[in-house]
Symmetry: C2
Subunit: 187 residues, 2 copies
DNA sequence: TAAACCATGTAACATGTTACATGATTTT
DNA sequence: AAAATCATGTAACATGTTACATGGTTTA
């Protein structure tokens, strides 16, 4: 039940059309709550029907047909309520860890290449986050809003750092395992 | 498309009934791929229909009606194929980070208590993982299978460590923010 | 004027969640 | 014999994914 609230947050930050929201979900919000354009349009329809947002009267009505939405007071209230409400953390799902566990049963054939690829993807994402940090959060601190957003970004940076390191560790283990293979396990 | 493969892995580790699988998903596998008993029964039905698993002929047929399943060769092959196939990492979803971002817009009212609660839950999960490590992975290393499983457990331990630390950091920031409130931002 | 892209959507399906149903066994 | 628990399920719904549809606008 978080997609509507992700959209409300994005719209409060800046009123947008469906496509603009989609773009922003590909960049910032989507880093921790992804959504496709189909989900976004469906949800915009629901939020409008519920009276939480409304379409802004188009300034150039007939042009690209772009429809921008803004949050109504009821929407802001709903978001504030949701933000403050206690929620249990959902168990994470990670297919890569599942594949390692499966590999313990069916063998590691073909897995190593994909671990290396994932390592590079995480390293690249880490670089992206660091650029955002350099650009949007220079050393001299901003206000409360900026500090909260920086906190979120730090989580992203630290998580990607963790994954690159863990994958390095996993790859080192793989190297050791294939090295020691066939020589018994008491080395 | 990972639940069937999670089930195949669990069944290869040990043939089980639906309820036994549910229990194991609550403990080990579910730490990185959760599932409810409804999902498990539905998926067991599909896997059986596809010929990847089969119900073991009951030893005490009329007793508790427990139905145990085992993996057929086709199922093992499918799991090996899936494990080796290259897959892109799915973007993570984290409602707590979303709430922090929302709080930057609608205010932090009520959030701090839940951060504290999450911190405790993560600390408790970390303790659980460490107990499993002490019990199942004593210093003297085992074979390749054990090292792979230990690698997965280490990811869990390090992730929970990260979250407890990050939440400590977040709570410290919260304390500072409310302290500095109203005194301007050039501290 | 054809191809590419912008912008908004529909439809069908897969997966995940919540609430309830059924009958057997064990405990009180 | 009533209540609790075990074990397997069904039904309805919410959410997420994939493929396609439509019409306008820009670029080649």
């Amino acid at each position: 039940m978080s997609l509507p609230h992700a959209i409300l947050t994005a719209l409060l930050e800046k009123p947008s059309s469906g496509l603009e929201l989609t773009r922003r979900f590909d960049r910032s919000i989507g880093y921790f709550w992804s959504a496709t354009h189909q989900q976004i349009y469906r949800e915009l329809g629901k939020l409008e029907a519920e009276g939480l947002i409304r379409a802004l009267p188009a300034e150039q009505p007939a042009r690209g047909q772009k429809k921008a939405y803004e949050v109504l007071p009821a929407g802001r209230e709903e978001l504030a309520r949701w933000t403050a409400a206690s929620q249990d953390p959902k168990p994470h799902r990670d297919a890569l860890l599942l594949r390692l566990r499966a590999a313990a049963v069916v063998g590691t054939e073909g897995l190593e290449d994909d671990l290396r690829r994932h390592r590079e993807l995480h390293a690249r994402q880490l670089e992206t986050y660091r650029e955002i940090e350099r650009r949007d959060f220079p050393p001299g601190m901003g206000g409360v809003e900026d500090r909260l957003r920086h906190l979120v970004l730090r989580a992203g940076i630290d998580l990607e750092t963790f994954w690159t390191q863990w994958l390095d560790h996993a790859l080192a283990e793989f190297a050791e395992m294939s090295e020691g293979q066939g020589r018994g396990r008491e080395g």
